[in-house]
């Protein structure tokens, strides 16, 4: 059996420098109500027949939640919007409606939930934005930070030694404390990377807010995205090791 993993199937692939909000308006204005065939001008409902409209397959998660493509989103606002849209789309409120409307509500609610889950966690949000902006469908591959490679190889050996050792022996105790120190060091490293990411997030938002279309801005944009990709992949790698370590010596 073969399958092609496709994690961002609802992704908007075409790049756009315009504000996502205005773009959605355009998308909606172009679409027709599935029920009465009149032009849909309302946000989620047809103005004429008041039927709920399906969220377009091209809608990205930022648009879906009504936020611009920024990386520093206010979690309170994000949550409030999620709750508001849940009240709009949740199947509970469509039980007395037609089967078609129920189907739309179900799939809209599912998209909304995925959108919120993706955007709520800053790291996942950044990974998603990266995929959106660089048009790559693939997940970001995790890779060890270059400068840590030697250290991580060594750590791997210690881990294996520890797993094979008698945990209660002197050797076991010694290895355990080595691993513990190592874990703490890696955790510090992880936090460092997260702080760097935070800075890049701020840079990104600033650049977007400025909204300049100069070649300088394009270079800056590419720099941020590239650094972000590297950092994200290193952070995930280190994070996995830290979790692994924590589980082993717990």
């Amino acid at each position: 059996m073969g399958h092609i993993p496709c994690s961002f199937s609802l992704m908007d692939n075409h790049q756009s420098s315009s504000h996502p909000d205005t773009r959605r308006q355009l998308q909606m204005a172009r679409s027709m109500c599935w029920h009465c065939q009149s032009e849909v001008t309302g946000e989620y409902f047809c103005d004429r027949c008041v039927k709920v409209q399906p969220v377009s397959k091209e809608t990205d998660y930022f648009t879906c939640l009504g936020f611009p493509r920024r990386l520093m989103l206010d979690p309170q606002k994000l949550e409030a919007k999620f709750y508001e849209l849940s009240r709009t789309f949740h199947p509970d409120f469509y039980q007395t409606k037609s089967a078609d409307e129920q189907t739309i509500s179900l799939s809209n609610a599912a998209v909304l939930n995925t959108a919120y889950r993706t955007l709520r966690a800053p790291i996942q949000r950044a990974e998603y934005l990266l995929a959106l902006e660089t048009g790559s469908v693939k997940d970001i591959r995790t890779s060890p930070p270059a400068d840590l490679f030697e250290e991580i190889l060594e750590l791997q050996d210690t881990l294996e030694e520890y797993r094979a050792s008698d945990r209660d022996s002197d050797q076991g105790h010694r290895l355990r404390s080595t691993l513990k120190t190592e874990q703490e060091a890696l955790e510090r490293r992880k936090h460092e990377m997260e702080a760097q990411l935070q800075q890049l997030f701020a840079d990104w938002d600033q650049l977007q807010d400025a909204g300049e279309a100069t070649s300088l801005a394009r270079v800056e944009r590419d720099r941020i995205l590239k650094q972000m990709r590297d950092l994200l992949s290193n952070r995930t790698y280190v994070n996995n090791i830290v979790n692994d370590l924590a589980a082993t010596i717990a």
Binding site: P5, C6, Y83, F93, T96, L106, N113
Partner: protein, 606 residues
Amino acid sequence: MARIVGIDLGTTNSLVAYMKDGQPCVVPDRNGRTIVPSVVALTDNGLIVGDSAKEHLTRNPERTVYSVKRFMGKGLADVQNELAYFPYHVTETGGVIRIRLGQKSYSPPQVSAMILKELKLRAEASLGESITKAVITVPAYFNDSQRQATKDAGLIAGLEVLRIINEPTAASLAYGLQQKTQGTIAVYDFGGGTFDISILKLKDGIFEVLATSGDTHLGGDDLDRVLVDLFIGDIRDRYGIDVGRYPDHMQTVRLEAERAKIRLSDELKTEITIELPEDKGLFTRELTRDQLESLVVGIIERTLAPCRIALKDAGLTPTDIDEVVLVGGSTRMPLVRQRVEALFGKQPHCHLNPDEVVALGAAVQADILSGGTTDMLLLDVTPLSLGIETMGGVMSSLIRRNTTIPASAKEMFTTYVDGQTGVDIHILQGERELVKDNRSLARFRLKVPPLPAGIPRIEVTFLIDANGILNVTATDMRTGQSQSIEVKPSYGLSDTEVERMIEDSFKFAAEDVNARKLIEARLDAEALLKTTNKSLVDAGHLISQEEAHSIRATLAQLSNATGGTDPRAIRTRMTELEQTAKHLNVVMLDHSLKKSLQGKKVSEVS
């Protein structure tokens, strides 16, 4: 919209509730009892459910089914090691457990349907309208097969199951309605057969589940078993009798074990008395709360690991929890409360009726669905990760546990061999890496047009709906055509089998209704016979000989009729007796009135 009721289909006890003037309330029976024991017995007059069936546990153990919820959505292999505790006969056909009752076998959904029908009738009698729609609760940690089995039970009972909701979240709705609080709560639900923990955020009428965990095989039943083992060990040592060989006595032991456990929630010490088989007399012993606690502490501690996992998954620590809400009969145990308090570092909230709160919450959810309550919304999660089998027997996760539902995931499939016309897909649920350690949910074959390898692109959508039940659809990306998929459940009834059972249930409905009417008529007749006889004794001397004679004759006729199987005949004889004894009753009333007045005078004088 027709009324939707809320049903708590419990391992031990079931209840039905509805919304009345913005408040949920539980439907009582004629005697004011709100709880229907989840027991079904096959008697000579047909199937009976609830309190009357419970009496057959010791009289007729092989034909009395209890705790059937433990078998929902399971195969025989899943329950092998606890079968010895059940006196009824359990087998398996087509991956589904069957329970033998007399000449026939019933699947767990069919037995559950009998309980649901009883609740349906009860609601209909109380509300005076026909009930066809319901919200039914399940343990939060129930997997897809167990949920599906519950839905099937509803269908078989003639109920459209508009929603399956999780028991702890249902409880949170009732709690939220009552308390109007905001914040983060943990609902700890320890019932008869299952344990659930759910962590929720309550804010502006939204009930957002952050994480849930549990054990669908951990409850009061397991505590009872520890005591059963203790008692039968004791009896063996003292009398050399193996109670295990006497199913009726095993039930006596089990029921006494449960009663002792319950008494020890209020008392520090209790006396156990059990009648021994073969007229060997009575077994008695003392049991203290300390002894009970040291025996069951291990089981109770098993509830703590899921609590920690749920906290971790929610990204919270115990101090983040504003309130711990206790649900389920087993939370009445002081030791349980102590452990919960120790874990969360605060006294749990136990002002809700732990027996009723789940049904009340189901009624609230029913009201939301019918458009009555509009300010509350429950956002629940799927308790287990969903995935598919990939190369090498590994599970690849598509929807992680604790994902808000409805949730969907899309996966693209293609072929490896030229001209390949199908792709086999195996759906799993669970948290382990290897397929064999997870729960197999279903298999299906994706139809693919014969093309060179790698060319076909079939997108499969896995959608977990608001019931926590999986729906699968597929689209050929090249043609845009959607494809219907026939999913074969690994543990569960096929659609055709459910349909047949629904038909059967209608076919036998007439029979069942008759059996029920007969039982009710008999009970009523017995009550009437008793009071009339008493009146004759007390006031017989105040009426004429002939009158007394004709009353006796009618009494005999009624008592004859109760031996028959025609409920109408019994009712007719009852009316006749009521007519004949009318005068006697008037005289009787007069007589007792005078007597009480006399009594008063005497007391006033003295």
